[in-house]
């Protein structure tokens, strides 16, 4: 009843190719943005903003980055964690060398460093594909992790080997470092995520996105129709790494406030890949769903049993958590291999025809 497009006529071509052709979708998006930008910062508790919303948004951004590569271009990558690390370390080096330049600029710029590294490690993708490529990207993961641990230049020859985020302000309000409030950091992260999601949406709906999808569906056929494979694949690697790099910089500068090299190990890559697969390959909405599920599930598992009065030893909780996550991943894959985004699609279709079955 509520979700029905009857009577919404498209009178020009632009309306027909719009990203959100249905009025209810546009209203829904506006409501979500309103909740994210007004309701949550006003009424949300510090725990909600700091421990859930900020990391959720950052991981969504990383998942979008990986989704552009794996979901849209069909290139399986296990180096996401390292590309995020490149972004974080690039931002750190830049802001410690040039402290006067605005941190927002450096966070955005760190994405370009990550993109360059991504292109470099994406070069083998022309020769090899599938699981062979996945293992090749693991080379990037391990090599870069090693660099962050063993090459002191990256962390400015600190004794601790970790990076500390300095305080940087925007218009006199500190947005990174210890003095920044949760709400300010939340707004910065939200700004980045909204702008970059909008950009990604435009990319995948345009010519470039279509080229990527053609390569994904069959690269030989795509080549025959005149798509040059090398630039297309490398562009996918560059864009994906750019998103991951910015997400990595945000992760360290606006959430952790400092980082050990171990943060960017191979587990982070797998973590992001889970989000993409569970959320839905080739869907931007899915990236958000996947990030929400994979990130919030462990938190729920940690906090809910004690609230219900079930006494469990913390170590046991962790073991059970592993088991539950493993089992849930398998269950989700069996229930809906196309991911949560597909479930969302099905739900919308059902709503459209409700109360009739079809």
């Amino acid at each position: 009843m509520l979700y029905r497009e009857a009577g919404q006529f498209k009178t020009n071509y632009a309306a027909d190719v719009a990203v959100f052709p249905i009025l209810q979708d546009r209203i829904g998006l506006a409501v979500i943005l309103f909740i994210a930008a007004v309701i949550i910062p006003w009424f949300g508790s510090s725990f909600l903003i700091q421990a859930i919303m900020i990391p959720f948004l950052i991981f969504s951004l990383a998942a979008i980055g990986l989704n552009l590569l794996t979901g849209y271009t069909g290139l399986l990558s296990l180096g996401t964690g390292a590309f995020m690390g490149v972004g974080a370390y690039a931002c750190y080096k830049l802001t410690t060398h040039f402290p006067n330049v605005n941190i927002i600029i450096w966070i955005a710029a760190s994405g370009f460093f990550s993109a360059a590294i991504g292109v470099l490690f994406g070069l083998p993708s022309l020769r090899i594909k599938g699981f062979y490529l996945a293992v090749a990207t693991l080379a990037a993961q391990f090599f870069l992790s090693w660099c962050f641990i063993r090459q002191p230049w990256f962390y400015n020859y600190n004794v601790s080997g970790a990076i500390e985020v300095p305080t940087r302000s925007l218009f006199g309000v500190p947005i990174t470092g210890a003095t920044a409030t949760d709400t300010t950091r939340y707004f910065v992260v939200l700004g980045f995520v909204v702008v970059m999601t909008w950009a990604a949406s435009n990319l995948v709906h345009g010519r470039i996105g279509r080229m990527w999808m053609a390569v994904r569906d069959m690269d030989l056929a795509a080549e025959l129709t005149g798509i040059r494979l090398l630039p297309t694949k490398l562009l996918a690697f560059a864009t994906s790494s750019f998103y991951c790099g910015v997400a990595g910089a945000l992760l360290v500068f606006l959430w952790y406030g400092g980082a050990e090299p171990a943060v960017f190990d191979v587990n982070l890559s797998f973590f992001i890949l889970f989000m993409v697969i569970i959320g839905g390959l080739g869907s931007l909405t899915g990236s958000f769903f996947g990030a929400a599920l994979i990130f919030i599930m462990p938190i729920v598992l940690r906090y809910v049993p004690p609230k219900l009065g079930i006494p469990i030893h913390p170590a046991t909780v962790e073991h059970i958590q592993y088991m539950v996550i493993g089992a849930l991943i398998i269950l989700f894959l069996i229930a809906e291999p196309a991911g949560l985004a597909r479930l969302w699609q099905i739900g919308k279709q059902k709503l459209r025809v409700w109360p009739f079955p079809y």
């Binding site: 080379a139 059970i320 088991m323 493993g326 291999p337």
Partner: protein, 318 residues
Amino acid sequence: MDLLYKIFVDPFLQMGTAPDLLVQTLWEGLVAGVLYSLIALGFVLIFKASGVFNFAQGIMVVFAALTLVGLHEHGVPAYLALALTIAVMFCLAFAVERLILRPLVNQPDIILFMATFGLTYFLIGFGELIFGGETKIMIANQLGLPRGAIDLKMAGGFVSIQKIDIAAAIIASLMVAGLAIFFQRTRIGRALRAVADSHRAALSVGISLEQIWVIVWFAAGLVALTTGIMWGARSDVSFALDVIALKALPVLILGGLTSIPGAIVGGLIIGVGEKLGEFYWGPLMGSGIESWFAYVIALIFLLFRPQGLFGERIIERI
């Protein structure tokens, strides 16, 4: 110029002046390579028969070793514990087929790959829940494995060889030979090769895919158990061992995902290359290059042969 000298000349001079060290390094590389080969073998068996890139192979190694040691700790005699562990691996194979592979049949490769990730997490949690997360010592003595070292006089010095390494090499060769005979000479082996060639053709001549998958996962489980015992006897049994699964991946792409000889040769190349690289070139770049050196070797090979050394030629049609 100095750097070039250090990279291209100096290491070889060192090898020439101290041949015993070279032999020692080579031997250690070969031994590490045997273990990599064994893990890669488990991967290849499953990939050939079911097309699943089984990420859980590494954790299966840990799980098998942990079950064996855990049972022994609870007072089960060593050989009975071994038999029970084999039974557990069979149950695991059966459960995997029934609960994961069967519902996910005909899904894209990446979905099955993800499912083995789920399996990995599940086994980590399950193993720690039952046997505890602490490090354990492999019951090598009770299983009759030799210990101690032999010092061989050769190449103008001494080369020290651990007996357990010799045993590992022998057992690994026996197992590979056994698998080869099983594949070539038995009815089930023939069915396995048929499934590896084409699932549909195998189905159409009446081969039961379900049965084959259980057998293959069980075989991979046995390989995992052997690997676990050997690796556990060299170091301890803990969940940190699952990183060796990541070490086996370059071996796989080097040898080709579908080739058993490839897994063995690839394992040895990676093992030797890694140890030589760490020993002779490592100090130049700061230590710890073992973590990525194998991947670089594999990448270089891949640039020339995208299907790996022994992989089937990739033919694409539109």
